[in-house]
Each structure stands twice: as structure tokens, then as C-alpha cells.
């Protein structure tokens, strides 16, 4: 029965991701910035960040609309974007107490209800959750590259992705040597809905089936070979589908040839905020795909009063009303109001096809899903990571060092035994603890070393980054085919380095050939020089995070989803 299979998969996902990692770098940006009027019934609405722009728009207009409860009180909604898994986790763990919730997929509501019944004997949300908007999962690709695979002339799917991913000469095998290697991106299957969907679809394509996937299929050499073939072309993983989209549209085909995104992301690439060299088109895999259907529900917890439930129903009705649903189309979503025909920008001029997808894939049983995730763990692209950690005297403040150690240990535990890990603490000067060794051999030693880090001295940030970068660059010559990255944490300004920021930027700037090491950098505390640190991350196509002693574990967990 499909419902139970979906639930089973959701439970697998949950089992692998006890607490999903949101984009910790993004501060909460509640939609509807106006202050709540006096005496208002206030609602907190947590939702999957894929639909952030639409929700911000319609919630702002709702708050300004003068909506009132039956007793005449004004209603004010604070809408908070986050990962879909986090939406559910926060309610289950009561780390936040929202009144409404809308993850990206109904799977999360089913999962949440099942977990909630187990924990409290009651569902997570009241009654049936209605879909707000819809968007299919697609492979987003630069149009010339898609055409090279036959897009526009024949159905294209995972089979074709596999062919180009396994080609030793990359795009040269398709008559386009100037495009170099095939570079692919999808999110981490243990943290993200689109990630697990990607891996599942790859296995289906490799097995030649569209349903009834068995353990024998998953454990066959053919499937293992195909999965490894695609996964080795992945540039890195991550927790946010939207992040891949934005990075791809900003950095162009040299960064990513293709990524697994939502249809709405492809449409977003045509907005004025991006000026890509080529148009992006959606490939609806011929083998089948999945829908993201954005259900919204009222939270079934005692902290939601009857008055708030009534107010929540008014807000949901507003979101489902024609003007707001028509607005959803302009953000690239398919409205859930069936009376509204599909119209521009959901059209070929924006790289998508309103008559797709033609088929969906069946979600396999729990044991098969489990087996797929185990296989992925072996087939995935492994990483070489160096942690460059500030141990200067200022790390003593506010428990910074103790929390940073905890965060680093969290990341270490998320890396696999086949990953290579190096550790370079720095203060007055950088001192190698390990230049890099497989965690299969060094995990315990690294745990001990991180746990024993102490703070003192000044901050030679740029020198430390430069040294770690050079070492990793040197190592990749003998150990290629990995996700190479520096993870840097610093709480202050560089005040002692021999090299300048400009020299460092010149050294590390991503060039798509030899220099492809990414730097993920955490500005820790208020004194970190955020703008400079962001320049370093951007130069390498990495990512900058705002860290605090309170969120640092979550930040490290999010960074670990890239590997």
C-alpha cells in the first residue's frame, strides 16, 4: 500500500537524520515585518524554505489586510522558513511552538503524525492537511548541455545522466570537449527530501525497473556500478535544495552542469536577480519523478488555543484563495486550486513543461530503502576535509571554545571512515595536529585532539588558511576524485598574518581546473569580520556561516551535509 510505503521511507529518512540540519547561516526572517497590532491573535507559521518568497509576499499582504477573528480581534502571522524535517522536529521536541506548519512534502506530515502518535498518542496536525502549492522534482540543466543529451528530441532521464557521468572524457564524448567534466549536484540523502529522491531514482534507472524494486536489485553489481558512476560526478552534497539552485545560476556551468532541484527553482533562474550565460531547462526524468506538494496543517498541541485554531483557518483560507493562488504561479509554483489553469511562467519559455511529469516512481519498502542508503554510503564521493580552527585567546569568551569543540566533534561524527580528515589549529601561529589521514585510522586520535584544544595567543587567520590550502592542494595530486574542502572557524580579525587578504583571495580563487578546493567559513561571535570572511568563502564557491556558541553545533552539522 503506497501510503505505508511512503511512511516507511519517511521513517528511514528520519532514522538517518535525527535532527535535520537547516541552513544555519540564514537568520530567521519572519515574513510580515510590521508589528502585530495591539490585542492581536498571534500565529507562528513554520514552513519549508522552498516557498519562502511566495509566503513572505502573501503573509505580508495578509497581515496588512485587516483580517479579524469572529470576535473582532486582528490576526497577525509570523512566518519562519526552515528545512522541512526541522519543521516537524521542532514541534516534536517543542523547541519552538508554532501554530501552523507546512513542510515541502506530505511525507513529512505522515512522518510527523506517526512519530507524534508514538510519542504523545496524538497527531502532529489537526485533520487533513491541504496542499498549498505543488512543484515536481526535476533535473535542472543548462540548455545546451541538455540538448547535447537529446533533450527536446527524445525523452531524457537518469540513464542519460549516467552515460555522461561515467564518460571518462566528460562532455567530449558528446561532442563538447570545451565543457570539461560533467559536474552534478544533489542534496544529502540523509538530510534532504530531494537528496533521497535523487539516489532512489538513480537506483531505479540502473536496475531498469519502475516499480517493485527488490533487495536483489539493489545489491546487484550493475546497480552499485551505476550509482558510483553518477555519485563520482557530484561536486558536493548539502542540506538545501534552494542553495544548489542559487549557486548554479550564479556561478554558471563551470560550477555545475546539472542539479536536482524543484521545477519552481528552474523558473526562478529566469528572474532578474540572475544573469546566467545560458538558459536553464527542467528535465523530467523519463523513468519517473516525485511531487513536492507543500501541505499546510494546524498544529495539534495544547499551546494552540481554540481562538488561534480559528485564526489559523482564516489564514489558510486566505492562502488558498484565488488571488494568493494566482500569485503562487508568478513564483513558479503550480496552484493547488484546480480552478486556476496553469499559465506563464510555468511554460517552455521558462524552461519547464506544464504537461510533465508523465509518470512517478514507486517508493520502495523500508528494507529496500535501507539497503539503498547503505549502498549510497559506499558509492558516494568521499571527502578530504581540513578543519582550520581558531584557538586564539578571545575564544575564551562566552564558552566559545567549549562549544566550538562540541561542534567540531559533531562534524567529525558525521564523516565516514573513508573520508580523510586533517586538523590545523592556529593562534599566534598554525600548528598541525594532523595533515590529513583516513578517519578509519585516525578518528579516535582526532576526537582526543579536538577535545583537548585550548585557547591562547593572537590570530594568524590568513596564514593558517593559506597553509592548509596548499597542503590539501598538494595531497589531491596523489588522492584525486574527492570533495576537497577547508572548514574554517574564527572569532576575530586577522592581526598577525604574513599574507594579506588580497593575496589569500588570489591563492584560493576557484578556477575550475586546479583550484577547486572550497572553503566553508564560520564567523564566530560578534567580532568576526563577516565581510572579509564572506569574500574568502565566495571566492572558492564555498559558503559563509554566522556562528554563535548557541548555534555552532547546528552550523557544523549543516556543513557536514556538504560531504
Amino acid at each position: 500500500m503506497l501510503v505505508w510505503k511512503v511512511l516507511a521511507v519517511a521513517l528511514v529518512i528520519s532514522g538517518c537524520s535525527p535532527s535535520s540540519a537547516p541552513d544555519a547561516s540564514a537568520p530567521e526572517k519572519p515574513a510580515g515585518q510590521a508589528q502585530a497590532p495591539a490585542g492581536a491573535v498571534q500565529l507562528v507559521f513554520t514552513y519549508g524554505s522552498e516557498k519562502e518568497e511566495w509566503i513572505k509576499d502573501v503573509t505580508t499582504s495578509f497581515n496588512a489586510s485587516g483580517a479579524r477573528t469572529a470576535s473582532g480581534k486582528p490576526i497577525f502571522v509570523t512566518a519562519i522558513p526552515m528545512g522541512s524535517g526541522e519543521c516537524v522536529d521542532e514541534i516534536l521536541n517543542e523547541t519552538r511552538k508554532p501554530h501552523l506548519v507546512s513542510p515541502a512534502s506530505g511525507v513529512f506530515i505522515k512522518l510527523g503524525n506517526a512519530q507524534s502518535r508514538q510519542k504523545t498518542g496524538k497527531d502532529l496536525v489537526v485533520g487533513e492537511a491541504e496542499n498549498l502549492v505543488l512543484s515536481p522534482v526535476v533535473i535542472a540543466m543548462w540548455k545546451p548541455m541538455a540538448e547535447a543529451l537529446g533533450w527536446g528530441k527524445k525523452p531524457v532521464g537518469w540513464e542519460d545522466i549516467l552515460a555522461v557521468a561515467k564518460s571518462p572524457n566528460g562532455w567530449a564524448a558528446f561532442g563538447q570537449p570545451q565543457w570539461g567534466d560533467f559536474r552534478f549536484g544533489h542534496t544529502h540523502p540523509q538530510f534532504s527530501n530531494s537528496g533521497i529522491i535523487s539516489v532512489l531514482a538513480e537506483v531505479y534507472a540502473a536496475s531498469g525497473k519502475v516499480k517493485n524494486l527488490t533487495l536483489d536489485d539493489v545489491q546487484s553489481a550493475k546497480v552499485a556500478d551505476a550509482l558510483q558512476g553518477i555519485e563520482q560526478s557530484v561536486v558536493h552534497y548539502g542540506s538545501s535544495t534552494g542553495f544548489f539552485g542559487k549557486k548554479m545560476f550564479t556561478n554558471g556551468p563551470k560550477y555545475l552542469s546539472a542539479a536536482v532541484l524543484y521545477e519552481s527553482s528552474v523558473i526562478e533562474s529566469y528572474s532578474s536577480q540572475f544573469t546566467p550565460a545560458f538558459p536553464v531547462v527542467a528535465i523530467y526524468p523519463k523513468e519517473g519523478t516525485f511531487w513536492s506538494d507543500h501541505p499546510v496543517g494546524i498544529v495539534a498541541r495544547d499551546w494552540v488555543s481554540e481562538e488561534q485554531r480559528a485564526a489559523a483557518r482564516i489564514y489558510i483560507s486566505y492562502l488558498l484563495a484565488k488571488p494568493q493562488q494566482e500569485k503562487a504561479i508568478t513564483y513558479g509554483f503550480r496552484p493547488s486550486m484546480v480552478e486556476i489553469p496553469i499559465a506563464s511562467p510555468i511554460d517552455t519559455a521558462h524552461g519547464v513543461d506544464p504537461k510533465e511529469p508523465r509518470t512517478t516512481l514507486e517508493i520502495p519498502s523500508t528494507d529496500v530503502m535501507d539497503s539503498i542508503l547503505t549502498l549510497w554510503g559506499k558509492a558516494k564521493k568521499h571527502s578530504s576535509i581540513t578543519l582550520v580552527l581558531d584557538t586564539s585567546g578571545s575564544m575564551e569568551k562566552d564558552g566559545r571554545m567549549a562549544n566550538a569543540r562540541e561542534g567540531a566533534l559533531t562534524m567529525l561524527s558525521a564523516l565516514s571512515d573513508d573520508d580523510v580528515f586533517g586538523l590545523l589549529p592556529f593562534s599566534t601561529k598554525p600548528i598541525w595536529v594532523s595533515e590529513g589521514a583516513p578517519l578509519k585510522q585516525s578518528r579516535e586520535k582526532m576526537k582526543t585532539a579536538i577535545s583537548g584544544l585550548m585557547e591562547s595567543g593572537t590570530t594568524v587567520l590568513y596564514d593558517a588558511i593559506g597553509i592548509a590550502y596548499d597542503k590539501l592542494l598538494q595531497q589531491r595530486k596523489t588522492n584525486p576524485g574527492r570533495i576537497d574542502a577547508l572548514v574554517v572557524l574564527t572569532d576575530g580579525a586577522d592581526n598577525k598574518s604574513d599574507i594579506s587578504l588580497e593575496q589569500l583571495l588570489e591563492k584560493v580563487r576557484y578556477d575550475n581546473e586546479g583550484k577547486t578546493i572550497r572553503i566553508f567559513i564560520i564567523g564566530y561571535g560578534d567580532e568576526a569580520e563577516k565581510d572579509k570572511l564572506k569574500k574568502i568563502a565566495d571566492a572558492t564557491q564555498g559558503k559563509y556561516y554566522d556562528g554563535t556558541p548557541q548555534n555552532i553545533r547546528q552550523v557544523f552539522r549543516d556543513i557536514s551535509t556538504f560531504f
Binding site: 500500500m1 503506497l2 501510503v3 505505508w4 510505503k5 485533520g127 487533513e128 496542499n131 505543488l134 515536481p136 525523452p155 519502475v210 516499480k211 517493485n212 523519463k286 523513468e287 519517473g288 519523478t289 511531487w291 506538494d293 503550480r334 493547488s336 484546480v338 480552478e339 486556476i340 489553469p341 496553469i342 506544464p354 504537461k355 510533465e356 511529469p357 508523465r358 509518470t359 512517478t360 516512481l361 514507486e362
Partner: protein
């Protein structure tokens, strides 16, 4: 398959459902047994007979019923209803709010499955004053449970709002391909298509359409789901009455039903929700569903704005769903709420509202509404496959027959 026929076991809930189903079906069969039906169906006089107009009225006259006494002051009523009536009832509530009576009566529509509605009432959900499920399927169970708790009859008044038979609904492109291969739509050909491991590649040389995807609601939770199993059983045995235990315990039949049901998908508890999902997500979600005729017709135009035309086909034999409206003698209902419930019922049975039911694909409970008029959707939607006259109407199978069908289905679920 090598499974041997066995006497399957049924849960207590299963027995309750079966008992209700039989009662409801018997009521239906009393009207349709052996009769090739015409429209409007003619109901006899009987204890469980659905009525098509307010008591004491000429059933062929426009209802314009004797007005119920109005509530003295503003009042709020709650109606637990099946989502197959969602669009029509939501429209009707809005219209009602514009009337002088409606300005004093606020109607809250509470969507829920048939069984859920009964359970909520017995549990004492004070928001519900009226219950309007898809059919009388769960009525007797509800009455028994209510009597156990309150020691009295729960229903003050009951009327048939509108009728609807069951249909297969397909995407037109896939219907054409299906017909090209199988010639006709029936549970037999649906089962054949579901058995194809290569799906549409084998059916119509369309590998890009994936597997053949057929859905219906949950037989233990939804009226239309149980209808699916019963009508499939009749169709397999080529009967419309006299289904026997021997028929059901035939290993070939059991294997056929189990195989078909293992291939089926969806199993929502709401027919309206499944149909909406089909239109929202297109043929990627379902190639075909088995739903109420009114639900399929209500979405015909919306489907064209999304994925293209739909096609409707009728099973042979078929069964009616009568959408009853029960005013509940609940201890929490005030005198004004009971009066208001009757006022709204009369509004629903009035000619303009019944005409709108026709627009939403129902065969109106008010027989004065002609469904053969030139502008009737039953005429204008002929190109989609909509038909006014039906073939045979099946009788209610015996209890042990239904219990065995449900138990076989249960086995198909556990075998997935």
C-alpha cells in the same frame, strides 16, 4: 499465484462495516432489484427507503417545502459531510448566507469520512448537528452505537440530497491507449493492465508513461472503496445478484482480486481528495480512478486547464450512492439549531440549489429537476463518456460474502 483459498478472518471493525454495508445495500436493492433503471430512480416505500422530497409532498413538484419554523435568534450549526459534496455544499452555504434566513443561521461545513463522522457524533463532538455521508452505508452502525450510549434514536429527520453511481475516470490520452489494447474498461481489463510488469510500455508502447496507475479509496474507511471491491466481485462473476460464498472462495477469483489490489494505489479515505490529486498531479499520479460520477464530472473542466480531457466509463453492474442528510437528535443541539438544520435542508432541496447540484454532477434528489435538459451536464458532457441511463444495478451481497471480500482485500494489503 499459488495461494490456496482459505476462509479469511475479519476484524470487529470489518464486521461492523459489513453489517452496515449490507443494510444500506439491501435498501438500495429493494428499489433496483431486477429493474433496468430509468432516471429519476423511483423509490418505493420502506423503512430505510431514501426519500427524494420532504415528507408529504408530491415528489414530482418543485419542493418549495413547508417552511420550517425559523430559529428565534442567530444560530450556528455544524454539518459533518463527505468531501464528494464539498464544492456543491460550499457554494450552497455561501448562497444561503445571502438569504434572509441565512443571515441568521451560520452553517459550518466539517469535512470528514463517513465512518469518521459517525464516530465523532457518538464520541460527543458538539460541533456537529447534522451528518451527511456519501451513502447510508454507516447509518445502522451509527444508530446502534448511539442507542447504546443515549438509549434513543439519533435521527430526527432524513432526506436524500442527491444521487450518484460509480464510474471509472481516465485521462483521455490514456483512455484511448487503454481501449486500443483492451477494447473495453472493466475491472477485468483494469486488472490485466495492473498485472503488466512493463506497464504502459507493454500496453501502448509508451515507456515514458511508466506503470499503469489505478486508484480507489480505502475499503475500510470509505464508502467508495468498499463499492470498488463489491462491484469488482460482481463483474468478475458476471452477476448482479446472488453472489455466493462459492464464488468468493474460488481460488481463481481470490488470486485475481489480490493481484489487482496489490497493483492499485492511493487508498485515501476521501474520494474528493483523490480526484483533486489526480487533476493536480496529472497522469503522473493516476492514469485512472474509481470514483462517484458526480466527483468525476465536477472536475472535468478543471482537468482541461491542467493536463487535458478526462474520460468516464461505467462499470457493469453499478450501485447508487444517495447522500443522505440526517438531522441529529443530539443532547447538545438546541431547539434553534434543530430548526436551523431543517431550514438549511429545505434550502438544499429547493429548485435553484438542486439545479446547482446538477451542475456539480449530481443526479438531484428533487425529481422535478430534469437531467435531460439541453444544458444539463448529463447531456453536454456526453463527449466525455457521461451517460444518463445505466445498465444493471447490483443487489446487496450477503454479509458473509462481503466479509470474505474484505478479508481477501486485507490479505492483498498485507502482502504488499
Amino acid at each position: 499465484m499459488s495461494e490456496q483459498p482459505q476462509q479469511p478472518k475479519v476484524t470487529c471493525l470489518g464486521y461492523a462495516v459489513i453489517l452496515l454495508f449490507i443494510t444500506a445495500c439491501l435498501a438500495g436493492a429493494a428499489y433496483f432489484f431486477g429493474i433496468k433503471p430509468e432516471w429519476p430512480p423511483k423509490f418505493g416505500n420502506g423503512l430505510s427507503t431514501p426519500t427524494v422530497a420532504a415528507p408529504g409532498q408530491d415528489p414530482h413538484a418543485s419542493p418549495a417545502p413547508t417552511p420550517s419554523p425559523e430559529p428565534a435568534s442567530s444560530v450556528e450549526i455544524g454539518i459533518a459531510y463527505g468531501t464528494e459534496k464539498k464544492r456543491w455544499l460550499e457554494w450552497a452555504v455561501n448562497e444561503f448566507a445571502q438569504t434572509p434566513q441565512g443571515r441568521k443561521i451560520k452553517v459550518n461545513l466539517l469535512p470528514m469520512g463517513s465512518l469518521e463522522g459517525a464516530q465523532e457524533l457518538v464520541a460527543g463532538n458538539k460541533a456537529i448537528n447534522v451528518w451527511s455521508p456519501a451513502s447510508a452505508l454507516y447509518k445502522d452502525t451509527f444508530v446502534q452505537d448511539w442507542q447504546l450510549k443515549y438509549n434513543k434514536q439519533p435521527i430526527l429527520r432524513e432526506e436524500v440530497l442527491a444521487l450518484s453511481p460509480m464510474v471509472f475516470v481516465f485521462w483521455a490520452e490514456r483512455y484511448d491507449a487503454f481501449i486500443a489494447k483492451y477494447k473495453t474498461v472493466s475491472f477485468t481489463t483494469i486488472a490485466d493492465a495492473l498485472k503488466e510488469p512493463a506497464g504502459w510500455d507493454a500496453i501502448a508502447q509508451k515507456p515514458e508513461w511508466g506503470v499503469f496507475k489505478f486508484g480507489h479509496t480505502h475499503p475500510n474507511e470509505s464508502n467508495s472503496g468498499l463499492m470498488t471491491l463489491v462491484l469488482a466481485s460482481y463483474q468478475y462473476t458476471q452477476k448482479s445478484r446472488g453472489l455466493t460464498l462459492k464464488d468468493i472462495l474460488d481460488p481463481k477469483f481470490q488470486n485475481w482480486l489480490v493481484t489487482m489490489e496489490r497493483g492499485a494505489s492511493g487508498l485515501s479515505n476521501s474520494t474528493g481528495t483523490m480526484m483533486k490529486e489526480m487533476v493536480l498531479k496529472g497522469p503522473a499520479s493516476y492514469d485512472a480512478l474509481f470514483v462517484y460520477e458526480n466527483v468525476a464530472m465536477d472536475f472535468l473542466k478543471n482537468a482541461e486547464g491542467r493536463w487535458g480531457e478526462l474520460r468516464i466509463a461505467y462499470p457493469r453492474p453499478n450501485m447508487w450512492n444517495d447522500n443522505p442528510y440526517y438531522i441529529i437528535d443530539a443532547p447538545w443541539s438546541t431547539s434553534d439549531q434543530r430548526k436551523a438544520s431543517a431550514v438549511f435542508l429545505e434550502f438544499l432541496l429547493s429548485e435553484p440549489i438542486q439545479k446547482q447540484a446538477l451542475v456539480h454532477g449530481f443526479r438531484p434528489g428533487n425529481p422535478s429537476i430534469a437531467i435531460k435538459a439541453p444544458d444539463s451536464p448529463f447531456v453536454t458532457y456526453g463527449k466525455y463518456g457521461v451517460r444518463i441511463d445505466l445498465d444493471e444495478i447490483a443487489e446487496a451481497p450477503k454479509g458473509e460474502i462481503i466479509s470474505n471480500i474484505l478479508a481477501i482485500w486485507q490479505r492483498s494489503v498485507s502482502g504488499r
